[in-house]
Symmetry: C2
Subunit: 468 residues, 2 copies
């Protein structure tokens, strides 16, 4: 490969102690030049897109405890090996599984109509033949809070507020409380079940599932999301003065103890093999779609970035690039928490120099944020990354970051992180729905992601100073 002569660099190997960072260590011209060349090659490279195509097509949905998850794990191991990663291994993580089996809903009064619904994560089942009840409408979680405890006996609590659309997904947090905690509040108010408008920005008859705040067992009452058009329909019926009576049949199953895995592929550092730069995405997905934007894209970008660097430089970068395909993110960062806990226990957490996860879809990156965990003496390196990313439409942004959902446990233990902010304007149209499929992904955006992630990853692994 003509780009680089890293063997020469190795000869003048930088020998500063790993965790000392008293001086400002520049990013060398050579590193910058190599990065620029990698960028200009990556922007024409479809490997991330092709990896995503394979995962979503040949595997499909990857919900913990299902055959799809197993197939996904096997796929991950095989793909990392095939692409030349130096080391490929998995780590078991224990958890409890949960699957949906039946989910139907009908309006019985004022006229018979079928609705499109999905159970939220760990939803309790209704009685075997479903339950029938009138709905009581609340415009928000806060409105449901205001009702008297026990006042909803024999009713279904319906929360109808709609998530707002923002480029950075800012509408998610505030809407999400109805999904995560609504079931407990509905139970407290005496309701038979919780029905929420999907946490999503689309207008299709595809409901959005998602986690509740329940880690084991079941929600307090059956917890169900309506597609946006169905939620509109209920609201309109009530505006006409009707009180819809509905039948809800939700059958779900606790699978008991299961084992999920973090799948890990490494490009071993030539100089500091124990020091790692963590990238990747989460391998699990919800069961309704094929997990293309959530988070096949992140998995593909992580794998492609590691492989692209490995296959386009003469020698490996100084540090180890550790691509982690996280397990069971959707059920509460289960793989990520186990990973961080194990590294805290064995002391290797200190070797995690910097990390980031791609888990906000397949849109183009427009911003680069750095976490407060980064040493002030290393911020110039992030600025350098941003400068080289500039040609790709990325600019330096303020604000702290954990570096993505699966980075949260590591960031909490002091691991520096960056956030490559993606345009998520359309992300919540697809997020957690049957519609999260490969056809929604733009190959041009995947190329841009590969180029951006290559810049971050190569510099982070090659720059001899520490971000800590």
């Amino acid at each position: 490969m003509k780009l680089i002569k890293l063997a020469a660099f190795a000869a003048i190997a930088f020998t500063a102690p790993i965790f000392a960072n008293d001086t400002i260590i520049p990013v060398s011209k050579e590193t910058k030049d190599i990065t620029t060349s990698l960028r200009d090659k990556a922007i024409k490279d479809d490997s991330a897109y092709e990896i995503l195509k394979s995962l979503t097509t040949e595997v499909g949905a990857r919900h913990p405890g299902t055959a799809g998850e197993k197939a996904g794990i096997e796929w991950g191991i095989k793909k990392l090996k095939a692409l030349g990663f130096d080391k490929v291994y998995t780590e078991d993580v224990k958890m409890n599984g949960w699957v949906r089996e039946v989910e139907t809903a009908e309006i019985l009064m004022p006229s018979y109509q079928k609705m499109v619904v999905t159970a939220l994560g760990r939803s309790k089942s209704t009685p075997e033949n479903g339950l029938e009840a009138e709905i009581v409408h609340f415009k928000s979680y806060a409105d449901l809070e205001k009702s008297d405890d026990g006042s909803l006996k024999g009713k279904i609590a319906f929360i109808s507020n709609r998530m707002e659309r923002f480029k950075n997904g800012a509408g998610y947090g505030s809407a999400n409380i109805a999904r995560s905690k609504g079931h407990e509040l509905a139970a407290q108010k005496g309701a038979e079940a919780l029905l929420i408008r999907s946490i999503g920005t689309d207008d299709h008859r595809n409901p959005h599932t998602g986690a509740t705040n329940v880690a084991m067992g079941y929600t307090a009452v059956p917890a169900v999301a309506l597609s946006n058009p169905d939620a509109d329909q209920l609201v309109r019926l009530m505006e006409y003065g009707h009180t819809p009576k509905i039948r809800l049949n939700i059958q779900t199953k606790d699978l008991g103890p299961i084992v999920t895995k973090n799948v890990i592929g490494e490009i071993t550092g030539r100089e500091f093999p124990d020091e790692v730069v963590v990238i990747g995405g989460h391998l699990d997905s919800w069961d309704l779609g094929t997990g293309a934007v959530d988070d096949g894209a992140g998995v593909a970008i992580g794998i492609a970035t590691g492989a692209f660097i490995k296959n386009n430089v003469k020698v490996n970068p100084r540090r180890t690039i550790r691509v982690i395909l996280w397990g069971a993110e959707e059920l509460g960062l289960i793989g990520a928490r186990a990973y961080a806990k194990a590294r805290q226990a064995d002391g290797t957490i200190e070797n995690h120099i910097i990390g980031s996860e791609s888990d906000f879809g397949a849109g183009p990156v427009y911003g680069l944020q750095s976490s407060d965990n980064i040493s002030p003496n290393a911020l110039h390196v992030v600025d350098t990354m941003a400068a080289i990313m500039g040609k790709l439409g990325v600019s330096r942004r303020s604000g702290n970051t954990s570096g993505g959902p699966d980075m949260i446990p590591l960031a909490a233990l002091g691991v520096p992180a960056i956030n490559l902010m993606q345009d998520g304007t359309d992300y919540f149209d697809l997020h957690h729905t049957p519609d999260d499929t490969f056809d929604k992904v733009n190959p041009e955006h995947m190329r841009q992601n590969l180029a951006v992630w290559t810049i971050f990853t190569f510099i982070a692994a090659e720059w001899p100073g520490s971000f800590r």
Copy 2:
């Protein structure tokens, strides 16, 4: 209403024999002025939108033989009466009902994946627990034709070509043969079932159902449509070299003889009450959505137009405006055929001066076509309509027309027709899917439709000459 003094017109009543049309009879200035005033009022009127909202919300889907169809018929009668139609009645039409009960599909090999499918109209059931078979891929109906008879024993024939998007829906006809006749061809080739890519232009996990060429009984083999993303998935799997094995479980039921209805409302002509101008839409819908664009919009536009004219002129127009809410259009123009046959039998077909149906969604009208059945001496009237519609973005267009699906039997018997061409660019995103719901409708477009239809209907009913 200040617009008009029709009593004065009546005094100089034009007494030309109805069917003679030897001379060119101008559209009077008064008629033009009234029409222009009606147009400028209708473009601000939300009644069509509100009627559609009520139908799709308070009734929902209206598939023949279901509770929804009954509710729709009752709704139609009530709505026409409430809006002041002079005469409201129904006509029974006998047919055979068919409903879907179960429709699931899974890829078993190379990995387990759920697919989103729907049975085509009158699909036969699979065995009770479904059937399992490998698929054989054909890029088009024509390609399936080329295979040897009996060669697909134990296989499922899969036709994958995609409908193209056009403003005027031009892609529908050529794609549709797979839906209507594919089941017979698949049976001839020995296949266990027919699987087609949905006849639709969207990319959502919502399959498109639709009629087959079967009027009674069942299709020759189970006939099933995949959502577009699912069809893409199968094609990609085969491009990877896999031969997908799938399980298909389709359970449907023939309801035997049922009665549907054409629901009719009239604004009685003040001078030629027996002469009718026919407008409307079809009241039935497919069962998956709520029949908003297909064809609640047409129903609402027809009702709103009749009511708007009735309530905004001092006296009724010369001829009767007959708003027909056609029954069972989706299953083969069943209500329309019965209507035309009865009028042929009783001789009143000759009283049908002109007609049109709105059945291409809720998009704005951009063109006005006239049928070859219209007398050359009446074409200037159509031109006048187009001129008054000009301000609304409508222009005169060439080409023959039947005036819409439910006008076909009448047009075949010589009834003149016009076609108010709607922008259907997005129509086949929603057509026959669960996604055909009220939220997709733009109120501005519904106002434009009301204004356009008012122009056509008022002039056709008021102009004293005949279109025949």
